[in-house]
């Protein structure tokens, strides 16, 4: 349509060339039309692969949500694609039974503690790695990352022994500190990438302007790497939230995380499938919420700020 308008305009202004111009535009239009048609034929099923992919991804989550609204009888005895008698009983159990909801509270407490500790410890460390050259800095930096390479199970035993000695077993801080083992290095790596993207001259300009180091760091530097701090906090939150082994080893009852509660719900009458499914749904929600807030920075975070 736009091309048609152009051809009219051309015809009005340059009467002499009218016929040739119109012909040329007509030809061009025909060609564009044909190309589009060809593309259309080629990719009539362009939606197929993404749809299948998304279906496969969403199926388990859908099934979890589906189950959480069913009764145990329905789950065990019939195969239904959606709840035939939708019920909120499963959720009611979780929100009223302290054994269930305290699991969420415990998890959130130690995850938030861990996130705060990790980011607070990683900020100065990352600044040092990004701004100063010192003996062995590169080796130390790489060694940080190797901490992520050992499975947490390796550390379960020494941690248990150590924390028992200090009377920290079954406290929130125990789990928060244990998770620092892999979250601090990760946060350092992410933040270092973001910090190195800020020119060193900005630091110097601030010192020349008279800023002391702490004031410069808080007032000028942190706003510049705010998205990096967000991404680092997100990753710390996620890894701490999903980690099960250390959290379960270091707690018994008072600080028992939700994931541990979920694995211990085999009662005399068998598994309570519906409640378990509802617990699963509620476990996904915090992660999904956090992802929503940092969705624009996640790619940069995965590239450790080096985009």
């Amino acid at each position: 349509m736009a091309a048609g308008k152009n051809s009219t305009a051309a015809a009005d202004t340059i009467a002499m060339r009218r016929t040739t111009a119109a012909a040329a535009v007509g030809e061009a239009q025909a060609e564009i039309g044909q190309t589009m048609l060809r593309r259309g034929r080629q990719s009539r099923f362009w939606w197929l692969v993404p749809t299948i992919y998304i279906l496969f991804l969403m199926l388990p989550i859908y099934w979890l949500i589906n189950m959480s609204f069913k009764t145990n009888t329905e789950i065990l005895n019939t195969f239904s694609l959606w709840p035939e008698n939708p019920t909120l009983r499963n959720y009611r159990v979780i929100f009223t039974d302290p054994a269930w909801y305290s699991g969420y509270i415990n998890s959130i407490i130690y995850v938030v503690m861990n996130t705060v500790i990790s980011v607070a410890a990683a900020l100065p460390a990352a600044y040092a790695f990004s701004r100063y050259r010192f003996l062995g800095d590169k080796h130390l930096f790489f060694w940080l990352l190797t901490n992520r390479m050992a499975p947490p199970a390796v550390f379960a035993l020494p941690f248990f022994q150590l924390y028992s000695a200090f009377g920290l077993i079954d406290t929130h801080i125990a789990v928060a500190l244990a998770h620092c083992l892999f979250n601090v290095p990760l946060a350092v790596w992410i933040l270092e990438g973001f910090m190195s993207g800020v020119p060193k001259e900005i630091d110097e300009t601030a010192y020349i302007d008279g800023y002391s180091f702490p004031r410069f760091f808080v007032k000028i530097f942190m706003p510049l790497i705010a998205s990096g701090i967000g991404v680092a906090a997100f990753f710390c939150f996620m890894f701490s939230w999903v980690e099960l082994l250390l959290a379960r080893t270091l707690t018994t009852t008072a600080a028992k995380p939700i994931a541990a509660t979920m694995t211990r719900t085999v009662s005399a009458s068998g598994l309570d499938w519906g409640v378990l499914a509802a617990a699963g749904v509620l476990t996904i929600i915090p992660g999904a919420l956090v992802i929503w807030f940092v969705r624009n920075y996640i790619a940069k975070g995965f590239a450790l700020g080096r985009v």
């Binding site: 001259e201 300009t205 601030a206 010192y207 800023y211 510049l224």
Partner: protein, 360 residues
């Protein structure tokens, strides 16, 4: 008065600044002129206190400032890259040095508006620096540098990243902006023409050493050595080694340059003769201009001027001729050296003209 006393800066095995002594007076504009990696930036960082000298000391108004952290010195610095705080508005950027000193709101507002007025930023005060053009960003940085009335203002190639037109414009404004403040200005540049346009004093740098310091015109006209003359010439200085024999400098290739009267006393022997590209011409400038037969290598035409690259004996020369001239490569042409402006250097590179002048 800012004084550097025998300042040396080494980083590892490399010497960045070698035994530099300078004294810069209040209310002066001082140009640091030198090619890249000659140590201009390091020298500025030493003056600012961003780096401490390996040996030597930095004095300001009679007080030893060596090792005093930059926060407690009253300096301002503008970088070649446009450095502003990206998370703050232009207003907050300019206000930031004042906020640190704890000035009250009305003072800050007055000073910021004054600086913005001077740098024509008034209508951009609410914008973020990254939304501005390069020239405006650099103006913001300059405004931040002048707003606090620093005693020492360091400008490290502030115009190098700007396009031609903006550079011209800002260069004209800079002396005006800074004239009122009475601070010591230090301006680093790689371009001799910029030093000449700015005037003031010039220190020429070469490989971490200050080769000469004095009024810009003086340094340009009467360099004390070959290194200074080379640093302060763009296009490069034309040189040739000639042998003094009685009353003339000679080369077997057929040059016969009369020895200027002031230099008649110097002993016979080899000397390096240097002259600027515009002292080589197609027409004799005066009756005693010396003709030389040279071969054209290539001609660059800018429009109003032509740079004719010539080869003569072993030397490569550049002639700056007004107007458009078209020569074929390898064409032999006759050019004239303006003898009034030749500089004569001895084998150690010292200017014998300067020595003779001092003796007289």
């Amino acid at each position: 008065m800012l004084e550097l006393k025998n300042v040396t800066k080494r980083v590892g095995a490399e010497t960045h600044i070698e035994d530099v002594s300078l004294a810069l007076a209040h209310g002066t504009l001082n140009v640091l002129l030198g090619p890249t990696l000659s140590g201009k930036t390091t020298l500025m960082r030493l003056m600012a206190g961003l780096e401490t000298p390996t040996s030597g000391s930095v004095w300001f108004d009679g007080a030893d400032l060596t090792g005093v952290p930059v926060q407690r010195r009253n300096v301002a610095m503008v970088y070649q890259q446009f450095i502003n705080y990206p998370s703050m508005t232009v207003y907050e950027n300019i206000a930031s040095p004042l906020r640190v000193t704890g000035a009250d709101r009305t003072t800050i507002d007055r000073e910021v508006r004054k600086a913005a007025e001077l740098l024509r930023l008034t209508s951009y005060l609410d914008r973020m620096p990254l939304e501005l053009s390069g020239g405006q960003q650099q103006r913001t940085a300059l405004a931040r540098a002048i707003v606090r009335n620093a005693k020492l203002v360091l400008l490290d190639e502030p115009l190098a990243n700007l396009d031609y037109k903006l550079r011209e414009e800002l260069r004209e404004e800079l002396p005006r902006i800074f004239a009122q403040s009475g601070a010591i200005f230090v301006y680093a540049t790689t371009e001799p023409s910029e030093a000449l346009l700015l005037g003031g004093n010039t220190a020429t740098l070469s490989q971490g050493r200050v080769t000469q310091f004095g009024p810009t015109i003086e340094v340009f006209r009467r360099p004390i050595d070959l290194l200074t003359a080379r640093t302060f010439a763009d296009p490069p200085l034309n040189t040739i080694v000639l042998r003094k024999n009685g009353a003339s400098f000679q080369l077997d290739g057929g040059v016969d340059l009369p020895v200027p009267a002031a230099l008649s006393g110097i002993p016979d022997g080899p000397y390096t003769i240097g002259f600027q590209p515009h002292h080589l011409s197609l027409e004799p400038a005066t009756a005693d201009a010396v003709p030389v037969g040279a071969k054209v290598v290539v001609t660059e035409i800018t429009g109003s001027e032509s740079f004719v690259h010539l080869s003569f004996a072993d030397a490569r020369w550049v002639m700056l001729a007004p107007g458009v001239h078209i020569f074929e490569p390898d064409e032999r042409i006759e050019v004239f050296i303006d003898t009034r402006h030749v500089m004569v250097f001895d084998q150690a590179g010292r200017s014998v003209s300067a020595v003779a002048r001092r003796a007289a």
